[in-house]
């Protein structure tokens, strides 16, 4: 007799994963700065989400995003030698993208502390509020603001771009 409960759960999760995977992957790529690691991170995230899949997950998209970010942070803490991969793997053609700018962006993000990097990625990729970022990371709103302010100062130095307006808008509230 087929296990209809399991089949339904699997189908529901598959639909969710297919729809959400591109966004999870972009977040993972900005966090990892490396395509292979980003894929591994997405896979580990979806494995954890499916392991808990059910009615208790009230907002699967937010749950998956939180899981991905926390898994990545945990990986950074475990990686004591703090490998700093340089993504030299040829990317597929990106007609609307400037490869130099992309590498510069990743290199600048790579110089941030892991938690600072997560704050920046969550805040700006999704245009999330600092409160939402705090919920994802499990830290206080004030801690997010402090980290954002510090991270943006470093990004300004790395990217050599005028970030004064950005700091005013994003970090000092």
């Amino acid at each position: 007799m087929p296990d209809t409960g399991r089949a339904a759960r699997e189908a529901e999760f598959t639909d969710f994963a297919r729809a959400r995977m591109p966004h999870l992957y972009r977040t993972a790529w900005l966090l990892c700065g490396d395509r292979q690691r980003a894929e591994d991170l997405v896979q580990e995230t979806l494995t954890k989400v499916y392991g808990r899949w059910g009615p208790s997950i009230k907002n699967p998209a937010a749950y998956a995003q939180t899981t991905l970010t926390r898994t990545w942070i945990s990986q950074q803490r475990r990686r004591s030698n703090h490998e700093r991969p340089v993504d030299q793997v040829p990317e597929r053609p990106q007609p609307n993208s400037d490869p130099t700018l992309r590498l510069t962006l990743i290199a600048a993000l790579d110089r941030l502390e892991p938690l600072d990097r997560a704050v920046v990625v969550l805040r700006y990729l999704d245009d999330s509020s600092t409160n939402e970022v705090a919920r994802h990371l499990g830290v206080s709103n004030q801690a997010v603001r402090n980290r954002l302010s510090r991270a943006l100062r470093r990004l300004r130095d790395q990217l050599d771009l005028p970030f004064s307006e950005l700091i005013t808008e994003g970090a000092i509230q």
Binding site: M21, R26, W29, L46, Y50, S74, S97, S140, A143
Partner: protein, 300 residues
Amino acid sequence: MTSTELTDLMRRESEELDPVSSQRILADALRGGARRRLRRHLTVGASAAAVVAVMAIGTGFAISNGPSGTGDAGTGGWAAPSTEPTKAPGSPTEVPDGPVIETDRGIVGDAALLAVTRDLLPANGVVTDLDVSHIESSDPTHAADSTRNGRRVSFKLDGAGASVTIQRWDGYAAVGWAVDDLKQIAGPDGALEGIEGLPPKVATTAREACGGSYQSFPLIECDESEEGWYSVGRPSQGATAPDTYQELLVQLYTHDGYVIRVDSYNTSGEKAGPLLAESPVLTFAESLTMARSPLWFIAE
């Protein structure tokens, strides 16, 4: 560059990136996730069954020893929980370890615990006396068990005492009652008539652990968060302490078997020191944020 432009930059540089192996990722996630579900269910099921089996043996022992034995032998009920450590092999109250909940993370090292604590505390507070200690089980029947490697970070925030304790809640056999059962018999004044007739309860989920499977009094109300179930309490400071002495205790029981207790006072310590503020130094929101933080843990 404005925040909008930084958002645009991040989106533009990542928007056409897609995982090359999306089908493989999905297939592996389904397989791995199914294995995790199965392992969790098997672990909890097998451990709970073992506890029930040994408790039944304990009941038989009580019956064979008549009314003078441990437990309510006359009613054929469960052996009464003991307040003594029950690790001694062969003792009539011996119970096996309770269900072990699967987890893929451990507590970070001591140096990281200190750093995380500083990171999570309000930025405008003055932190002193920050220290980590390795602690024994807080389960009353296994009070001497130091094998679970619990940790407590103690500190003072603006002079007031506070601590964060991280331990496992799983792995011990039941010594209490289910809170839902207690509610059935609780009188309007909180009296629990007929409690001896209730079977002890083993906690197999975070909700049960939070709800008091390991402690019978008082009745504990728990709320759900993404990480598990939490309770909020203001424990009494005792008859000898002034009424103005206050404590705030937030306890989060996670789905993967950890309990994180965030405890704070409005004095320099428990029932000690001069009054420093009207309320405990950490608010409920600050305490819960600390309890929910993933930064206490590391992937294993």
